[in-house]
């Protein structure tokens, strides 16, 4: 569900805006950066924090 919430939040944002997502270890931390990158956003991971800049 973390990626679903993230995707919807990104839809509400303007290109260039950044979103910081604190993910649980495991599935969320694997899925969120992978799915965000696949959707074309800029992604950086720092521990459990995934920072995404909307494309």
């Amino acid at each position: 569900m973390t990626w679903v919430r993230t995707k919807l939040e990104l839809e509400r944002m303007a290109p260039g805006e950044a979103l910081e997502v604190r993910c649980a270890e495991g599935e969320a931390l694997e899925n969120v950066p992978r799915s965000a990158a696949a959707a074309g956003h800029d992604v950086a991971v720092d521990g459990r924090i995934v920072r995404i800049v909307r494309r």
Binding site: R5, L19, E20, V21, R22, R51
Partner: protein, 262 residues
């Protein structure tokens, strides 16, 4: 990575640290479609605001109504003047053996309400009448009669309401999406009913064949509601024996008595 506009949102980072926000049943119910690249929250809201009339609660209407209700269409009307019969059950999956003799519209509505209590389901135990399309955002024609099919097409063209047509018999089917006034209508594609088309009772039908065609019809309905490209100005001719789909282009027909043509 730089914060290009100096604007940072934090989705779940508010202290104290939490890995996820509170459960959201609506989000969870629709999560598998919301996560699609082709889908969006805006598309979901369009669905929730929409009223769709499903004409026929049988072999096509069962998958169509099921998928539309499950997807979160806000108001699903279901029209059928018949009652559940034993010969329906192998292909009309909204009806079960204890429903024998129950009006199909009510039998279908009761299952759809179990499926998604968040939406409004309106059963109409009646034959189709043109006035039923008024106020709808989309009509899905799931009848097995050419006379009704042309009546639904004419009513939707007159009212300017989007329509998804389909038919299935034996091992073949057809699906077509229509935006009246913009794309070819059913009568543009098929000016006259075939003289010798057999009914399901005569030609027979396998349940999954109707399920496939009804599922394609539901998919086209969701595309139209969400504003995605749909199967317009064309129909899909589906050969389920060979598992082949032929896309046949059609054009608006000048002087079409239903849509006026181009």
């Amino acid at each position: 990575m730089s914060d290009r506009r100096g604007f940072l949102k934090s989705l779940v980072g508010a202290p104290p640290a939490r890995d996820d926000a509170a459960p959201d049943p609506r989000l969870e119910r629709y999560s598998r479609q919301l996560v699609l690249p082709e889908w969006s929250e805006a598309a979901q809201r369009r669905l929730e605001a929409a009223g769709v009339l499903v004409v026929g609660a049988g072999a096509l209407g069962s998958p169509v109504a099921t998928y539309l209700a499950g997807a979160g269409v806000g108001r699903v009307g279901i029209v059928d003047g018949g009652d559940v019969e034993l010969s329906n059950l192998h292909r009309q999956h909204l009806h079960f053996t204890p429903d024998l003799g129950v009006p199909k519209a009510h039998s279908a509505a009761s299952k759809l309400r179990f499926l998604n209590p968040e939406i409004v389901v309106e059963p109409y135990h009646a034959e189709f009448a043109p006035a039923m399309v008024e106020g709808q955002d989309l009509v899905v024609d799931c009848t097995d009669s050419f006379a009704t099919r042309y009546a639904v097409n004419a009513a939707c063209c007159k009212a300017g309401i989007a329509l998804v047509e389909a038919g299935v018999t034996g091992m073949t089917g057809l699906v077509m999406a229509i935006r009246p006034g913009h794309t070819a209508c059913y009568r543009c594609a098929f000016p006259h009913a075939p003289a010798d088309a057999p009914s399901c009772a005569e030609a027979g039908i396998l349940g999954p064949a109707a399920g496939v065609i009804g599922s394609m019809q539901a998919l086209e309905a969701l595309k139209l509601l969400a504003g995605l490209p749909a199967l317009t100005d064309a129909f899909a001719q589906v050969d389920l024996a060979a598992l082949e789909v032929l896309r046949v282009a059609v054009e608006r027909r000048a002087g079409c008595p239903d849509c006026g043509g181009a």
